[in-house]
Symmetry: C2
Subunit: 357 residues, 2 copies
């Protein structure tokens, strides 16, 4: 069938053409409606799927009564366009906004949704909005709050670029503010005061001596980190400062929850005044799940731990282990030179199709 | 003689009345002209003085051919008025803007100028503007640049409040900026970077271990200080910082000049990148000078070192040792409750008069 409607998505044609088509429908965060409408319309035309919608998030599910359900999820939005649309084909590359982060992954999932009439596991496909902006706007987070039952499953794959490797789980993150007091005095009579900046040296002592854990969780070796990310203190050039503040970021492996992370920091910084300013839990990779094991075998490359924080943590909050798997180099995300190799799109489609067939 | 001219200064009447009169002529920095005119006019009426003027600074000198010349100096300006003029007499106190900082001292010097027709040492009286504002505006500094010969002398007394004690010389001050580099990285992979804030712990180590000198200079024990007065570093909550800056203030005794102070800091912070951002030399108390020795004996109380930086350093830059001596408590300077005890005004006049007669 030929169509002139630029919003029509041909889900069963070439996956590379589909990638180009959905990249060329601009969908900067907050402006996903046109693409979400196109996705919803195309999926509603697929007989074996139940389609649901919340805002600009679209969920499509098989209902085959399989004993296992897997979730494939990807975000529809991109960071702002940098004069890099429409997509340009450059040899084996597709260049342009959204190609790597993450419409190639979305195209792979859309094609699977259309062609896998009878997958081995029931599948829930999730396409959502507002991933590239403030966490409170995140479309997947909204689904978790509004319709957790739509996301139910045994294992989830987020289609973020991972160079075709399975990146399992994610580390948690916690930020704390450590307040070190002092006593102000004129700098000409400094011994009458107590220098808060000097006392903050004690916090830096702890940080410099700290040896981060590298625990193995569900078969993957994570790597924690404890770092000052900001320090500030000082009143004037002639005053002994009465306050110094050190902001510390703790990245913790997914064998530790937020409460355990806080307890650990309070122990490490015993004697200092510490306030947790924000925290997000990590996510276990769940590679001990049978469906996950099969998937890793199908990929045929050793899985790696995900060290940064990603939306897989939102699945973890529902008790669903999750991994990242998608075409392209994650380091190209958000760059003006964003691009994805065509063979990686086809390879991702092949791996997921084989695993689910 | 009775006069109704509010700008007329009666230099030979009661010194407390004179203090009240010059306090009630407002002279916030930049607005000294009316008081400077009154001072110039009154001094020009004194036969034994040569009077000079530069801007709102007035200099009056005896020319008796004595072998020693002493300089008595005081600033005419005050910090802004806080609804504390005109002066109120409250028992033994004069309350109001300028009473302690430093028109009581100025009144004492004005009276001495008028009544000491034939002092033991030649005397140069200096009344200047813009002491309470930016150093580049300072009237004494301007005289040093424009007319250093007007200030020539063997020993100088600055009439700043010192509770009637001789406070000798002053400590120097130097500020340096220490720049600690790092390598930026995402906080999720902190080991790929190098944390500049952690490395700045090395600077704080030096500061915490530092033992300040307390050298005796010309018989007075000074007390140095080396302190961080500001620290800043950090890019974002998820980035390993590539820069941390520590601003350090060194207060150094007057046996060390600015070059020696810098050399000392470069040695103390060897291995760190250090930039001198500003410096002002200290001043030796010069209490080994015969005129100074006589003066200290006349005061009859043990002299103390001046730890803060004051305009005595400007005399030191001309090779003239200088001390601070004046009525009132220096801690009341700039406060809304500024006041001076009347007996201290009379005592300061008595001491200086006796020493110079």
């Amino acid at each position: 069938m030929t169509t002139l409607d630029p919003n029509h998505l041909d889900l069963t044609g070439d996956v590379v053409d589909l990638t180009r088509t959905i990249c060329d429908i601009p969908s900067v965060s907050g402006d996903e409606k046109r693409l979400a409408d196109a996705v919803e319309s195309a999926l509603r035309a697929v007989a074996h799927l139940d389609v649901l919608r919340d805002g600009d998030a679209v969920v499509a599910r098989t209902a085959l009564g399989r004993s296992t359900r897997v979730v494939l999820a990807g975000h529809l939005d991109t960071v702002p366009i940098a004069d890099n649309l429409p997509v340009v084909t450059d040899g084996d590359l597709l260049r342009g906004r959204g190609t790597v982060d993450m419409k190639a992954g979305v195209a792979v999932m859309l094609q699977l949704a259309a062609v896998l009439e009878s997958p081995r596991h029931d599948v829930t496909y999730v396409f959502y909005d507002h991933e590239e902006v403030a966490a409170r706007l995140n479309g997947l987070g909204r689904l978790v709050r509004n319709h957790p039952e739509w996301l139910a499953g045994d294992f989830a794959i987020l289609g973020e670029p991972s160079d075709g490797t399975v990146e399992g789980g994610c580390q948690g993150t916690m930020r704390v503010k450590i307040t070190v007091p002092g006593v102000a005095a004129h700098a000409a009579r400094s011994w009458r005061g107590s220098n808060a900046i000097h006392s903050a040296g004690g916090v830096l002592d702890v940080l410099r001596a700290y040896v981060p854990r590298q625990p193995v969780v569900d078969g993957l070796r994570y790597h924690e980190g404890l770092n000052a990310v900001k320090i500030e203190g000082g009143i004037a050039g002639n005053v002994i400062p009465d306050l110094c503040t050190v902001f510390v970021n703790y990245r913790f492996a997914p064998d530790r929850d937020v409460a355990a992370a806080e307890e650990h920091l309070r122990s490490v910084f015993a004697g200092f005044e510490l306030e947790v300013t924000d925290a997000a839990p990590g996510a276990r990779p769940g590679l001990d799940q049978p469906a996950a094991k099969e998937f890793v075998e199908m990929v045929g490359r050793p899985p790696a731990p995900k060290l940064g924080w990603t939306d897989v943590s939102r699945f973890a909050s529902l008790g669903i282990p999750a991994v990242n798997f998608g075409p392209g180099d994650p380091l190209l995300a958000h760059t003006d030179d964003e691009h994805v190799p065509v063979p990686e799109i086809r390879q991702a489609l092949h791996v997921l199709h084989s695993w689910l067939s």
